[in-house]
């Protein structure tokens, strides 16, 4: 080994703790790049592969009852490559050992051939055969939740008739990667399922001979989706078509899209933090190391080493640290990536998961991190290598300080000398102090950004489950029934109050933009649903006109007083103009509200309802469930308590996993910054601190000089971290905003406090490790060496 390389090994051995702290920060950079970009790719590639192999539809549409003979017309629309006409209906289930009714969707599969669009993947068993009315294939998530295997059976209410169905297979579908039930906020695998039955059987059961009520089609590359959808709307209009939808309005797809968007946002925010901190740390310790070795650099140059050779020597040191960081980072990134992918596996069901060990990603992650480190090293190396050997061999000029806090001025008289020492030292290198503070504050930022989600979710839960939705359950009816149906519901066991509603799907158009929007009409004396205005105050439903969610108003540029064109998708696409009379606060979906009376007037069908919110006596629940399972007109019942519980469970699990990760990352940053900064100060000021010991200052007093500096930095970092955290949290909220859901922007003071607590504890521990070194100072040796 060459002499200079031996020096490298000795140097690394000497600064191993600092080097490791930096390597860990670099590892976080590498790991978060691999985690976020890797998971993004994994999810994206898995999705595309599944979509492609199983022919996920590009356009979806439903009608009330349309003849199968339309198939040719639809297939001949320019750009359409394949069409599948089918039956798709909601069903209520009676599952053995489950008290409450589950709900689901039943979908037809073609007889005697494979589906051309939305083909299912068979995990177990087989698909139902034509002419076997009791055979069903179920979505794997539902089967797993109930431990169903082929051969098991359950009962379903299909078109008002209870039927016993036998499972012949479990399947996965590109249409239901994210299978979420009506009225649910998170998937509940137990209470919601998708069922596939033979087309001929379903047509028989629903009296749809020669007809269909739903379709999905695939398109050729470069097809004009908008024209296809318009053509489809025209074809289906006479048959109760409710408007064609593209993938963006397909629930499962939209949720997947959202997740991908979040991963992309994560890739943009988190890794740069670590890259910045590692560049800064490398710069900090390398500058100090080179400063201490100034004479050696001069000597090396004096005996004939070139600038390049000396520069390369120190660059190798950085590369060695980077190498350790890369190895740890790649391993951690892979491990976390697999973990996250597995977490996805619980919400998104794919037949396979593509998680490739892609070389280019490793190269990208390690390359970017290495570049950041070398960028950090560049200045330190350059400035020393540039010095002529004669100058380099002399000690650097003494440090000049500025006379701040002159104690002859009265107002500074209470400041202790040691505080003055710390403060002047901090102000002597303002850039370094600022960067150290910024580095530490980024830990706070990371934590605030991670933990605020709890606040937002709590607020969201309170808003949705306690202030807006105040019913015990909400019931959907098979079709719009006269308002008198509420009295039948009132007669069900345990039902104490019934508030009917009417829901209908529409398309809002304002200016150039249009959006599919459900309108819900509620009675004026509604108590079980409370509409909240943008200031969160309860408001009565308007006598006339619409109340629209803030998000929708923003998207369509609507203001109260504007008239919006409403296309009634379930009523022959009649277009009416309705005034917007107010904005409501809402975090899920785009549902807009009207009074039941005016909605019914608009729909021209008389006073009708297709659902109700009910209040129930909890003791009568089993009886009620039993009754509902026997009531054909009820297609689903959503229990608020159950939704809430499931929501809390899911969210808590998700956020807890992410928060743990973020806490670890924040602790690593804090440790990396504070420990390194303390070690460097200790090295720069060993002499001063030893002098103080000699004068008779106690260990505690001497440490306090150094700890005061770290303390000032840590304290200054808090408000900066809060501010950045607040900003990042806002960016996260904005990044998550979608038609499906919004997260309220709420950051409680406890979140700031908790973030600070973690960082301060991590800082104190790092500082205490350094304090032990002060305690072990060899006073005499330190003082007798020339600076």
């Amino acid at each position: 080994m060459r002499a200079l390389d031996k020096k490298l090994v000795y140097d690394l051995r000497r600064i191993w703790a600092q080097a490791l702290a930096i390597a860990l920060v670099m590892a976080c950079g590498v790991a978060t790049i691999i985690l976020s970009i890797g998971s993004y790719r994994s999810l994206e590639e898995t999705r595309s592969a599944f979509y492609e192999r199983y022919r996920f539809g590009s356009v979806f549409a439903s009608a009330v009852r349309a003849p199968l003979t339309l198939k040719e017309r639809i297939a001949s629309l320019p750009g359409v490559s394949a069409v599948e006409l089918r039956i798709m209906q909601p069903v209520l289930l009676d599952v053995p050992l489950m008290v409450e009714p589950a709900t689901g969707i039943v979908v037809s599969i073609p007889d005697h051939r494979e589906a051309l669009v939305n083909k299912v993947y068979i995990r177990q068993g087989r698909l139902p055969e034509s002419g076997r009315p009791d055979e069903v294939a179920v979505l794997e998530t539902f089967a797993d939740a109930h431990r169903f295997t082929p051969g098991d059976s359950f009962e379903a209410i299909i078109n008002g008739k209870k039927r016993k169905l036998t499972i012949v297979g479990t399947v996965l579908s590109p249409e239901f990667v994210y299978a979420i039930g009506p009225g649910d906020m998170v998937p509940d695998q137990k209470r919601f399922g998708v069922f596939y039955m033979s087309a001929s059987v379903l047509r028989g059961l629903y009296d749809m001979e020669g007809a269909f009520d739903d379709l999905s089609l695939t398109t050729l590359r470069n097809a004009d989706l908008k024209r296809i959808m318009e053509g489809l709307d025209n074809i289906l209009k006479p048959y109760g078509g409710s408007g064609a939808r593209s993938r963006e309005d397909q629930l499962s797809h939209a949720f997947l899209d959202n997740e991908l968007k979040e991963l992309r946002a994560m890739a943009m925010i988190i890794p740069p933090i670590f890259l910045f901190v590692s560049a800064f740390l490398v710069n900090m310790i390398l500058s100090r190391l080179i400063e201490l070795e100034r004479e050696q650099v001069g000597l090396l140059k004096a005996i004939g080493y070139t600038d390049v050779a000396v520069g390369w020597h120190y660059t190798k040191l950085v590369l060695a640290i980077g190498l350790v960081g890369m190895v740890i980072g790649v391993i951690a990134g892979q491990w976390l990536g697999l973990g996250l992918t597995r977490l996805y596996g619980r919400f998104f069901t794919f037949p396979f998961l593509i998680f490739r060990h892609s070389l280019d990603l490793f190269l990208l992650a390690t390359g970017v991190t290495m570049l950041a480190a070398i960028a950090g090293a560049a200045r330190a190396v350059y400035s020393t290598v540039r010095l002529p050997p004669a100058v380099a061999m002399q000690p650097p000029a003494p440090t000049q300080y500025r006379s701040l806090f002159d104690r002859s001025k009265r107002r500074f008289q209470r400041i202790s000398r040691r505080t003055i020492m710390s403060t002047r030292h901090l102000l002597r290198w303002p850039l370094r102090t600022f960067l150290t503070t910024l580095g530490t504050s980024l830990s706070v930022t990371l934590l605030v950004t991670a933990v605020f989600a709890f606040d937002s979710i709590d607020y969201m839960i309170d808003n949705i489950f306690f202030r807006t939705e105040r019913q015990d359950a909400s019931i959907s009816l098979v079709e719009a029934l006269p308002l008198d149906a509420q009295y039948s519901l009132r007669g069900l066991p345990g039902v104490k109050r019934v508030e009917p509603f009417r829901a209908t799907l529409t398309k809002f158009r304002h200016g150039e933009t249009e959006k599919r929007v459900p309108i819900v009409g509620i009675s004026n004396d509604s108590r079980l649903l409370q509409i909240l205005d943008v200031e969160q105050n309860p408001v009565k439903p308007p006598i006339t006109g619409l109340m629209v969610p803030e998000m929708l108003a923003k998207q369509l540029k609507l203001r109260p007083g504007d008239q919006v064109k409403v296309e009634l998708l379930e009523h022959n696409n009649r277009v009416v103009s309705v005034p917007v009379v107010g904005l409501v606060s809402s975090y899920v979906g785009l549902t807009s509200y009207m009074s039941l009376k005016s909605l019914n007037r608009l729909l021209r069908e008389g006073d009708r309802m297709n659902g109700a919110r009910i209040r129930i006596d909890a003791n009568s629940l089993p009886d009620l469930y039993q009754e509902i399972k026997q009531t054909p007109v009820i297609t689903s019942i959503a229990l608020l308590d159950v939704s809430l519980q499931k929501f809390r469970e899911t969210i808590r699990e998700n956020i807890t996993t992410m928060t743990t990760l973020y806490v670890v990352l924040a602790v690593i940053i804090t440790f990396g910054v504070i420990y390194n900064s303390a070690r460097i100060q200790l090295s720069e000021r060993a002499r001063e601190l030893a002098s103080l010991r000699v004068f008779g200052f106690t260990r505690g007093e001497v440490s306090s000089v150094l700890l005061a500096e770290l303390g000032i930095i840590t304290l200054l970092a808090q408000p900066l971290g809060w501010l950045l955290g607040y900003l990042f949290a806002w960016m996260v909220v904005k990044g998550f905003e979608s038609d499906l859901y919004r997260i309220p922007f709420v950051v409680n003071s406890e979140t700031f406090a908790n973030a600070s607590l973690v960082v301060i504890v991590a800082a104190v521990v790092s500082a205490l490790i350094v304090r032990r070194r002060i305690d072990r100072f060899d006073l005499v040796r330190v003082l007798k060496t020339r600076e």
């Binding site: 003494p398 000398r417 007798k784 600076e787």
Partner: protein, 235 residues
């Protein structure tokens, strides 16, 4: 007048062990009296600094005894040694060891703030003739001035002893004399016992007694009945 302040007997300091064992002090017996100025001479490695460090409470002896004002120093623990340094000892080193981020006056005040009955920083600076440099930072002062600030800092707490390890080692003769004058003034006016380590044989002229060190022992001791003023010394 001859009240002993340090009574040292059989003082031994061994660094390392086995083959690499170094006997820095090998059974030194010595007494320093109140108010005297002692100069310690001898080649490098002869044990002068080791003795001063032990006497100053910076280092522990391997064996032997040091009594300060009748109390044993060798029995003190780390905390008591710190208090001992804080209350009784002033140090001056070859490389000044000033705090670069504090002005001259603040460097002195650093010590007066923790002492029991200190003089004011300005008084201490006046004793070394540097009142006009009070607001300068170390980086703005010459080597001799820095060393005099270090002396002002050492004496500001009115210590019983002043221990100086090569105080003129980094200075030229002219500034070195100014530093010695400051030491001598303090010894005279405050009655502070001073022990000065030096390589410079000429400096023995200003001492009451001169100790010659060799191989961890005192080889010879000379009493100087007529110490001269530092201004009369040159090298």
């Amino acid at each position: 007048m001859q009240k002993p302040i340090f009574e040292i007997s059989g003082l031994t300091k061994i660094y390392g062990s086995g083959e690499v064992e170094v006997r820095a002090l090998n059974g030194v017996d010595m007494t320093l009296y109140e108010g005297e100025m002692a100069v310690l001479l001898g080649p490098s490695g002869s044990g002068k600094s080791t003795l001063l460090n032990i006497v100053g409470g910076l280092d522990q002896a391997t064996s032997g005894k040091v009594l300060f004002d009748g109390r044993s120093l060798t029995a003190l623990n780390e905390r008591d040694l710190t208090r001992y340094r804080r209350e009784h000892v002033g140090f001056v080193f070859q490389f000044y060891n000033l705090i670069p981020s504090l002005t001259a006056r603040e460097n002195v005040a650093l010590v007066t703030e923790i002492a029991r009955a200190p003089m004011s920083p300005d008084e201490a600076l006046a004793m070394v003739n540097l009142s006009d440099r009070a607001t300068h930072f170390p980086a703005q002062l010459s080597g001799g001035e820095q060393q005099r600030i270090a002396i002002a800092r050492a004496i500001a707490k009115r210590p019983e002893v002043l221990l100086c390890d090569e105080p003129t080692g980094a200075l030229d003769s002219k500034t070195g004399i100014l530093v010695l004058e400051a030491l001598s003034t303090i010894n005279r006016e405050l009655g502070t016992t001073a022990a000065i380590i030096t390589h410079n044989v000429e400096i023995r002229e200003i001492a009451n007694r001169v100790f010659y060190f060799k191989d961890g022992k005192i080889e010879n001791m000379q009493v100087n009945d007529h110490p001269v003023s530092p201004s009369k010394v040159s090298w």
